[in-house]
């Protein structure tokens, strides 16, 4: 029976080789469709296949500052953007909305640079064409990234400056703190030195004072003696003068007393003379009488003896006792207050200049990709349409070929020969599996050469999903052959099923475009798992093991399809 299988495989290859239309559908048509779809949809996925200058944008610069230059430079570096410089806002708007020469018009308002540099917000003005929705989104995305970068750059610069200033301030605080500590140390050292000096100078001071005091005493004693002598002499002279005066007074008082007596006598005579009028005569003024106890005669001025006693006492007083120089303790050196210079607090990032939230795209290896790069649309279209045309090939190669064999009568002849149906089916499936696998390999190679698709980290890993979907597709062709009774029935049935499987399975667009419920439905389709594996390997650049489960699922689908397909085919052709 293996001979029948082997011969059937060989015959299938001969048939395929002679079938130019089939070969065209297997290899050329997919490349043509892939090229059409890939180039058409490249804009959606933002791939690098978009020609340089694909999008034109009108730019009007009112700012003429550093930010404006940065925007210009960044836009100029965008490979798919071409810049049209506008002369005014109106010109930019017309370029977009009336002349339709640009996808988006950008106005960089005056003061943008100043606002950014001084921490204020600034906004670019966009003129868009709503019809060019996707292009606008792409340009807006690029601009958003650009603004984000500029803002982040400014914030980063401010943050850097703040950090520098903080570090400078911290350094100065540290210096002040060190200076204060030095001052405290110096003060302590000086206090110690003062104590030492004080202890050293005290006897000197004492001696010096004693010497000074002795000299002062001598000078005082001399001056005192001199002055006392002078005073003594003066007092003696004054006493003698006063004694003379006193003697004159005493003489006067004696004569006054005589006069007084004469006046009393005179007055008595007068009153007598005045007779009756004596009463009219006013009494004479009373002449005071010297105090009764006044005894001027007893007064005798003597030289002042007390002065001599005073001299003696003064001299005694001038005798300086030993000086008990008890110098007061030096007041403690004033403590240099411990300058509590606070540590420079670590600036809480949340309290610092707010950071900007940016995006860093990294690949599965963690390597930074840079700006949002999108992906080569052909990385999706090549496997997607390769799978689609693989299924179409299976439809023609298995389903139609089986029906053709039935219609030609060769199936009946095979069955009358020693080739059982299962051998024919097996040979056909194996041949188509190999052809499908080769088809996938050729299309991927063409995609690599013509469209620069990524083959992932390990191109060999692509064999797994390719082989799995080829197997599942071949087996599925068996089911279609059994369900479709005639060639005319197989074509629409097969086409509908294949197109639906391809569409829902994400062969034509990323499956994430579809609603969630449809994505769940898609799990029942081999196309979904094939595309998941291809996307993982080619676009997400994951490791080879990521394709194991999807490939296993599709091999499972293939087994189920084979069992069901053989059962249907046995009933249909058996």
């Amino acid at each position: 029976m293996l001979r029948a299988v082997w011969l059937t495989i060989g015959k299938e290859f001969l048939l395929i080789r002679r079938d130019r239309v089939g070969l065209f559908m297997l290899l050329v048509a997919p490349i043509a469709v892939i090229a059409a779809a890939g180039f058409s949809l490249a804009k959606i996925y933002g791939g690098r296949t978009v020609p340089r200058g694909e999008y034109s944008i009108a730019v009007f610069d009112e700012d003429h500052g550093a930010i404006a230059r940065a925007i210009f430079d960044a836009l100029a570096q965008q490979p798919d953007l071409a810049i049209i410089e506008s002369s005014s806002r109106r010109d930019a708007e017309q370029t977009v909305r009336e002349r339709k020469l640009a996808v988006v018009g950008i106005v960089i308002p005056a003061g943008t640079t100043d606002a950014i540099e001084h921490g204020r917000g600034a906004r670019l003005i966009l003129y868009t064409d709503p019809v060019k929705y996707l292009q606008t989104i792409k340009v807006e995305l690029a601009l958003s990234e650009l603004c984000s970068k500029i803002t982040a750059g400014a914030a980063s610069q401010a943050r850097s400056q703040t950090a520098e200033q903080t570090q400078s301030f911290t350094r100065k605080l540290d210096q002040a703190r060190q200076s204060a500590q030095q001052a405290r140390a110096d003060a302590a050292r000086l206090a110690t030195q003062a104590e030492v000096s004080r202890a050293a100078i005290e006897p000197k001071i004492r001696a010096h004072i004693e010497t000074a005091l002795a000299a002062a005493r001598d000078r005082t004693k001399l001056a005192l003696d001199t002055e006392m002598d002078r005073i003594q002499r003066k007092l003696d002279a004054d006493t003698a003068a006063q004694q003379a005066k006193l003697d004159e007074l005493k003489d006067y008082l004696g004569r006054l007393e005589v006069a007084h007596g004469q006046f009393e006598s005179w007055f008595g005579q007068l009153q007598q003379l005045a007779g009756s009028h004596a009463a009219d005569i006013p009494p004479p003024p009373a002449i005071p009488s010297p105090p009764a106890d006044l005894n001027l005669g007893g007064i005798k001025l003597e030289p002042v003896a007390e002065l001599r006693d005073a001299r003696t006492r003064l001299e005694s007083a001038l005798t300086i006792p030993p000086i008990d120089l008890n110098l007061p303790q030096l007041p403690p050196a004033p403590k240099v207050p411990l300058l509590n210079i606070p540590e420079m607090p670590v600036i809480d990032p949340s309290l610092s200049i707010p950071g900007s939230l940016g995006i860093t795209e990294v690949d599965s290896t963690g390597k930074e990709i840079g700006e949002f790069a999108g992906f080569n649309a052909f990385d999706l279209q090549v496997p997607g349409f390769a799978v689609t045309f693989l299924l179409i090939g299976m439809l023609m190669g298995v389903s139609l070929a089986l029906i053709d064999e039935h219609d030609w009568g060769t199936l009946e002849r095979l069955r009358s020969a020693s080739a059982p149906l299962w051998a024919t089916l097996t040979g056909k499936l194996l041949a188509r599996f190999v052809v499908g696998f080769i088809q996938m390999a050729v299309l991927f190679a063409a995609g690599y050469v013509l469209f620069g698709i990524s083959l992932g980290r390990n191109p060999v890993a692509l064999i797994m999903p390719a082989a799995a979907i080829a197997f599942a597709g071949a087996a599925f062709g068996l089911i279609v052959a059994g369900v479709g009774r005639t060639r005319d029935a197989v074509l629409p049935v097969g086409a509908i099923v294949i197109m639906t499987m391809a569409a829902i399975g994400g062969c034509w667009w990323p499956i994430d475009f579809e609603p969630v419920w449809m994505q769940h439905v898609a799990l029942a389709l081999p196309t979904t798992w094939a595309m998941r594996a291809f996307n993982d390997l080619m676009i997400r650049n994951l490791v080879a093991s990521s394709a194991v489960i999807p490939a296993a699922v599709n091999f499972g689908f293939g087994i189920i399809y084979t069992v069901v397909g053989v059962a249907i085919a046995r009933r249909r052709f058996g």
Partner: protein, 311 residues
């Protein structure tokens, strides 16, 4: 040797075969004759192992097809009614495939394929794709494919449908050569002439029943049919115009244009007498046609309807 033993087959309520039995011996060509839908293809399908009978037994070269299908099929060469060929393969590639699928070694297959291509007149087109062939060429190649592996039993199902006379002649030659080589040939056709021309024996089949079998003469004799003459004369032949010629029976026959009459004959040697009488009575014999009894007549006689128009 091919042997059908009481083959019965039903498709639902419809009886396709109802107890068909016959034998084709080595070196013998047996025609399976019957109108379309009579059960010929069903018989061949059972005998070739494509379908299984409800009951009965099929033997190919003494091998029971049900008990030993692999060996039996190796002894069988089927030439189906449809052109069981791969259109995009060349004639040689088709032959090699069918030969090798039947177990031939590559070199043997190539050698015999070249021989067969000469026999069927396609040696100069060996490397041309079959879809470039005429219908007759395809028929010839179709037969060659069935004979590639030197089968002991060959079954041909309507092998000359749509074939030009030249191709038909070549097909006959090939079939006869295969029989002479010792093959047991079962030749299914609804062309009576082919059966008469080619077959040693004929199995008449109708509505799944085997009506009769034997040589053409045996079948004609079995049906009891007689020669017939149709005559056009200048004047109309009145009833009783053949009176006096023994064994001649006048038949009612009308033609639109001209005067004609028909009559059965007992034997062909009565033709001159009948022509002479018609000329005398009808003034002049313009045209006459003698019809020998054939399988068509026998079939009509045996089944009550024509061979080509089964109800």
């Amino acid at each position: 040797m091919i042997r059908a033993e009481d083959l019965r087959k039903r498709y639902g309520d419809r009886v396709a075969l109802d107890g068909v039995s016959f034998t084709v011996n080595a070196g013998e060509i047996v025609g399976l004759l019957g109108p379309n839908g009579a059960g010929k293809t069903t018989t061949l399908s059972i005998l070739s192992g494509v379908i299984a009978p409800d009951s009965g037994r099929a033997l190919i070269a003494t091998h029971d097809l049900a008990a030993d299908p692999r060996v039996a099929r190796r002894s069988l060469g089927l030439v189906p009614q449809s052109l069981a060929l791969y259109p995009t393969l060349t004639a040689l590639e088709n032959l090699l495939f069918w030969g090798r699928i039947q177990g031939m070694a590559s070199s043997d297959a190539l050698r015999h394929a070249r021989t067969l291509l000469v026999e069927v007149g396609l040696d100069d087109r060996a490397d041309d794709a079959v879809n470039e062939f005429s219908g007759g060429m395809m028929r010839r190649l179709n037969i060659a494919c069935g004979m590639m592996h030197f089968p002991a039993a060959i079954m041909l199902d309507e092998p000359t449908v749509g074939v030009d006379p030249q191709s038909r002649g070549r097909i006959f030659a090939v079939v006869e050569a295969a029989a002479q080589a010792g093959g047991a040939i079962l030749y299914s056709t609804h062309y009576m002439e082919e059966a008469e021309r080619l077959c040693d024996r004929i199995v008449l089949i109708d509505h799944g029943n085997m009506v009769a079998q034997g040589t053409d003469r045996e079948l004609i004799a079995l049906a009891g049919t007689e020669p017939r003459i149709e005559i056009m004369t200048k004047k109309a032949l009145p009833p009783g115009w053949s009176k006096g010629i023994a064994g001649v029976g006048e038949l009612p026959w009308e033609v639109v244009d001209g005067f004609a009459a028909a009559a059965t004959l007992h034997a062909l040697d009565q033709v001159p007498d009948v022509i002479k009488r018609a000329g005398e009575v009808g003034d002049e014999v313009i045209e006459f046609h003698v019809h020998r009894p054939n399988l068509q007549d026998a079939f009509l006689k045996l089944t009550g309807h024509a061979l080509r128009d089964a109800p």
